[in-house]
Amino acid sequence: MSTWTLIRRNLGRNRTRTILTTLAIAFSIFLVCAVMTLPSVRDSILAHSSNGRRLVVHHKYGIAYGNLPVAYAQRVRNITHVVGLNHLTWFGGIYTEAKDFFPSYAVDSDTVGETLGEYQFNPTELDLFQKTRNGALVGIRTMQKFGWKIGDEVTLRNSVWFDISLTFKLVGTIPDVNPVSSTLFLFQRRYFEEALRPYENLGSTGWISQMVVMIDAPENLSTVSAAIDEQFRNSPQPTLTETEFAFTASYLSAFDGIIQVIMLVGFLVVAAIILIAANTAAMSVRERINEVATLKTIGFRRRTIFSLLVSEALLIASLGGLLGAVPAYFILNAGKSSWSPFLGPLSLFLMPVSVMIQGVFIALFVGILAGVIPSRNAARLNVASALRQIT
């Protein structure tokens, strides 16, 4: 027999209570891991948007405010230090339902390879994309989400551009090199313009959402940025040119409020679980006051009693933490998650190992907080008084 035997047997004393407390901790840690993944996804997206030689040009008052004329592209190409440019137009395509959301853009197929080189397009697929009028390059996560294969034809409808529907032939995939690229749906601008031609008299053609500009060296970022915005300062569609990082950070800042609320809810859950676990620990200790008094009578010291009781709380908490954090890692990283209208790219649940480890440590923290007060009180029990109560 050892103290470990005593700890283990005491946990088995009321199995229902032990199991329920463990599961309560497990569920809360699962939730907390999901919540803590949000900032790490945001950080991951930002980290992958730090190309030092790329600028994003959009309408001065925001992408949602207005588009830019496609004619701007050639003028920007002519600015000194600009070595490449691609323009993107938001399509907003829907495959099944609006909630199964993924970003879809019409792009300049001739320059997408050079300006978005880190997406690691397959050269053969990129060549086919350029030659196929209705060809599409699709992020691997979006392909997996809908069970698409190369060669499939898919039709996307939209509610942004006169409710047009377009049918595409999937000619290539975009590898999972970063959270955003793995969900993209890119197609030819020419195909898009053709579809909009019937609405030309309504001013539908000739517009782009943003430009991605490659420059020759990072030290020329501010020079080129100023030159672009100066060129269109007095036009009806003035521009705002930002580094890619600043553009992404600005876009993601729209979700900061939601993230904070979700994080707050998550930590309130942890606080609730601490209270539940503390109550369970207190009940368990209260029921065994006579045994604690007996152990102290035999000669067990305060710190030994304290260690025994806190160990029980820590064992339950660590078990609950593992049962919550490890499944969270595998379930949330199952690869099927994608953009959502509510959280945008932040719903790409890619839980890093660090969050799983943090989840386990939070569980241990819960165990310590829940167990330390009842254990300390029991360890400080006045033996003579306790014996008077139980005899």
Partner: protein, 224 residues
């Protein structure tokens, strides 16, 4: 030898003081079976707790085999009890999730004995109380008398010089009570233990060497 010299114990209850013991003097030689008797509230259990090192007197001294217990810290008292004192309670106080053998082994966890040595000590203690064949049973599988014998085995497993028992027969029927008192007498005779027992049981007079009567915290008389 247990020497109690002018011992008083005062408890404070808010603004009131309760004089549980007042100026108690007694001596219990080694190898004696002594009983502390008296009505409820007379201070018997208080005196027993002081002798056993579970409490400190408010004044006076208690020495057990030359060790003055007054002024020892809580940890020092705990260490002294672990090595020198065995306890038997009225309601056995066995841990229900452990077997009889595991309950007996608990005091040995405070020693540096190896697992094999601990097992040997447990076997010896259980054989003394006649419960070797019940060593793997849990307390809820034992009768009251058997549980008390397991408790006695736990009390003697570290081979203490002093055994203290607080109403050891209080929860037992007549037959089992006699068996327990006989066992305690046997421990005193064969193993030279000093046994101090608090009891209301008049049968105890047949088994003990000394009786000390207390009333309202005062030692009324003591028989040699």
């Amino acid at each position: 030898m247990i020497a109690v010299n002018q011992v008083s114990r005062i408890y404070r209850r808010g603004a009131d003081e309760v004089h549980a013991l007042e100026g108690v003097n007694l001596q219990i030689p080694d190898g004696t079976f002594a009983a502390l008797m008296g009505p409820s509230g007379s201070g018997k259990s208080t005196l027993l707790n002081l002798i056993a090192g579970l409490d400190q007197p408010s004044s006076g001294d208690i020495a057990v085999n030359g060790q003055n217990l007054r002024g020892l810290s809580e940890d020092q008292l705990a260490a002294w009890r672990a090595a020198h004192v065995g306890f038997v309670f009225q309601f056995y106080n066995l841990i229900p999730v452990l077997s009889a053998a595991e309950n007996v082994e608990i005091p040995l966890l405070l020693t540096r004995l190896s697992k094999a040595d601990r097992r040997q000590h447990v076997e010896t203690a259980l054989s003394i109380v006649g419960l070797t064949e019940r060593k793997n049973h849990r307390p809820n599988q034992l009768s009251g008398g058997e549980q008390q014998r397991v408790a006695i085995a736990r009390a003697i497993v570290v081979d203490p010089q002093l055994l203290v028992a607080d109403e050891p027969t209080g929860d037992l029927d007549a037959k089992n009570a006699d068996d327990i008192l006989t066992l305690l007498r046997q421990l005193k005779n064969e193993f030279r233990k000093t046994v101090v027992m608090v009891t209301h049981d008049p049968r105890a007079e047949r088994y003990v060497d000394q009786i000390f009567h207390l009333d309202k915290g005062i030692l009324v008389n003591g028989t040699p």
